[in-house]
């Protein structure tokens, strides 16, 4: 008997079926393993932990904030104090995320925002593509599609400092009264 002689099978049909089955298993496992490797490679690139500053943070005691605007540079947040009330507007332009500039007007102007006449003394202007926003963040010129985001302010229960929560968006009527 030769070592590598062809077996003289009487039923080649079943043999073909077995080969097809084995080759399907082979290719199938190749596809599965390639898919698995691809999946784990890409998944590993989606971080589970981010070493970024928290988007909810303390900004100091309400009494220490000066009347008017305070800019928190690292978080690009404008915090406004009007007497007893506080609100916060994000400095990220809603068009492409450049930082809008707080622009003081030389003289207050009266504008109509959503049918209401208001007198404003400042605006926000975006340096990247020229979007302009009224004092309450309403967009009125340039490519910005939405008003600037307003963020929630709270009072910290432990020490009474103001907390800005940039993970939460609030509407333009939101005011925190302390």
């Amino acid at each position: 008997m030769k070592l590598f002689s062809k077996s003289e099978s009487n039923s080649p049909v079943t043999d073909t079926g077995r080969r097809e089955f084995l080759s399907k298993i082979g290719f199938g496992s190749l596809v599965v393993s390639v898919f698995g490797f691809t999946f784990q490679s890409i998944r590993s690139l989606i971080p589970n932990v981010l070493f970024e500053p928290s988007r909810r943070f303390k900004i100091g005691f309400p009494s220490q904030l000066s009347e008017g605007m305070t800019y928190i540079e690292e978080m690009r947040l404008y915090v406004f104090k009007e007497g007893q009330t506080y609100h916060a507007i994000s400095g990220a332009c809603t068009h492409l995320g450049c930082t809008v500039r707080y622009t003081k007007l030389n003289q207050p102007k009266t504008v109509e925002i959503k049918g209401e006449k208001q007198s404003i003394s400042h605006e926000f202007h975006c340096p990247c593509h020229g979007s302009k926003f009224y004092a309450d963040g309403t967009n009125y010129a340039g490519p910005a599609p939405r008003p600037l985001q307003w963020h929630k302010l709270e009072v910290s229960p432990d020490d009474g400092q103001l907390i800005a929560d940039m993970t939460e968006e609030v509407d333009q009527n939101y005011r925190l009264t302390v």
């Binding site: 690139l45 971080p47 690292e74 492409l96 450049c98 340096p127 990247c128 340039g142 910005a144 599609p145």
Partner: protein
């Protein structure tokens, strides 16, 4: 004397393939030299012409090689970390010997490559070179698509390199660029987060852009380039060959018996034989070594000189270190994206109560549409064989007009974005001075 002789003999042993002394040697050169093996034994004189191809593809490849070589040196000198990136680039500029030149050459070659790849594409379009001629087995539309992918990779390479110096220019160009990605519907935010590896441009983003820039994209370009060249051979050479073959058929000469030296001639497929008719005709073709080789070397030296002169005349800028808190005014994307930036500024639409962000139209839909149009075009182009490999073929006149009109619009928008936009993206003529803007407030 003896030493000189052996040096001379050694040099001849190395260099004979570049400068063969007989037809037999020039055939051998192609077979024996690994650097030449992918050339055909003979090339048609028409495809070597300066005025036909303008050698823009070759120039692009030479620029790519310059970028690979300077890039590898730069990799020894650059540290891709947020803390050290800027200072290592600054060292490169002011401390390392010839560091400024290295960086400037790398930058100029990158800018030129974007331009030459685009011009190469325009040349191919205007000569109808994406069209199959009469040869069997050609698939030039596929090669056109590979070319589009290579062009997009070139743009991405340039864009990823833009962030690496970690200066203000870099930081804000990437801010604008990645925010365009986030305006895509449904997957925009996730795409941006995946690109940046987080919510802000930080260490994760820097290392991602770095790896894409120095490894992933160059490898894609290199593989794509190999495929591109292989297809050129399979398609029977440049489209100029089809033009020659057509002219030859018009003269109705008998086909010349062809002799092939390359592997492609032995392996199946009819392309080589069909081409052989035109190429093997005396007076129509020349041996690749030395004629093709000589022109490639000429193009290489010319490109090197131009890059070097431009690099010295226009040194690479380095602004102050990246500062997420201060947006420069105006903040501009790289020049080849400024036409898009100009469009994203102008295309925010109000449809009833819905507002569509200009970034979606100008930054996602329009580029996607243009790429789709370019991919689809060769399959739509039903002009005859007579307009293959011919500049401004009369039959393709209207197509060329449309193409040139699109190019012209892109160029006009680029010029407006580059030269005529000042602070707050307001329009300023070149003779108007920009108002002084506070850097901080």
């Amino acid at each position: 004397m003896n030493l000189m002789d052996s040096i001379k003999r050694g040099w001849q042993k190395l260099a004979w393939t570049w400068n063969p002394s007989s037809d037999k040697e020039s055939g051998d050169a192609i077979v024996k030299n690994v650097l030449l093996h992918w050339f055909p034994n003979k090339v048609s004189a028409g495809s070597l012409s300066w005025s036909y191809s303008m050698w823009l593809g070759t120039i692009s490849f030479v620029l790519f090689m310059i970028l690979v070589v300077t890039g590898m040196i730069l990799m020894f000198l650059y540290v891709p970390s947020v803390e050290r990136a800027y200072s290592s680039v600054k060292d490169l500029e002011y401390v390392v010997s010839f560091g400024w030149l290295l960086r400037s050459v790398h930058r100029i070659a990158a800018h030129l490559m974007v331009a030459t790849v685009f011009l190469h594409m325009a040349r191919v379009f205007l000569t109808g070179a994406y069209k199959n001629g009469a040869s069997v087995g050609a698939n030039r539309p596929l090669n056109w698509i590979i070319g589009i992918v290579l062009f997009l990779c070139t743009l991405l390479l340039s864009f990823t390199g833009y962030l690496l110096p970690w200066d203000q220019l870099a930081y804000w160009a990437i801010t604008v660029g990645t925010n365009i990605a986030s305006s895509a519907p449904f997957i925009g935010e996730q795409t941006r987060a995946f690109l940046l590896g987080g919510n802000s441009i930080d260490q994760n983003a820097l290392i991602r852009f770095y790896v894409l820039h120095v490894f992933f994209l160059p490898v894609v370009v290199l593989l794509g380039f190999c495929w591109h060249m292989w297809r050129v051979r399979k398609d029977g050479g440049l489209a100029a060959v089809d033009r020659d073959a057509r002219e030859q058929r018009a003269r109705e000469t008998e086909p010349v018996k062809s002799k092939t030296y390359s592997l492609l001639g032995i392996v199946g497929g009819a392309s080589v034989h069909v081409r052989a008719k035109a190429v093997d005709e005396e007076g129509n073709s020349v041996p690749s070594a030395p004629h093709l080789v000589r022109r490639i070397l000429l193009v290489t030296i010319a490109t090197l000189v131009v890059v070097l002169v431009l690099a010295i005349l226009f040194p690479a800028p380095l602004e102050e270190s990246a500062n997420p808190a201060v947006t420069p005014n105006p903040a501009k994307a790289p020049w080849y994206f400024l036409w898009l930036q100009e469009i994203v500024t102008d295309t925010t639409l109000n449809v009833g109560v819905f507002t569509i962000n200009g970034a979606l139209i100008g930054g996602v839909l329009l580029p996607a549409f243009l790429i789709g149009l370019a991919v689809w075009w060769p399959y739509r182009d039903k002009s005859g064989h007579g307009s293959v490999g011919v500049w401004f073929a009369p039959e393709r006149r209207r197509q060329n007009m449309v193409f040139l009109a699109i190019c012209l619009l892109i160029i006009i928008f680029t010029i407006i974005g580059t030269f005529l936009r000042g602070p707050y993206w307001n329009f300023y003529w070149p003779w108007e001075s920009w108002p002084s803007m506070p850097v901080r407030f």
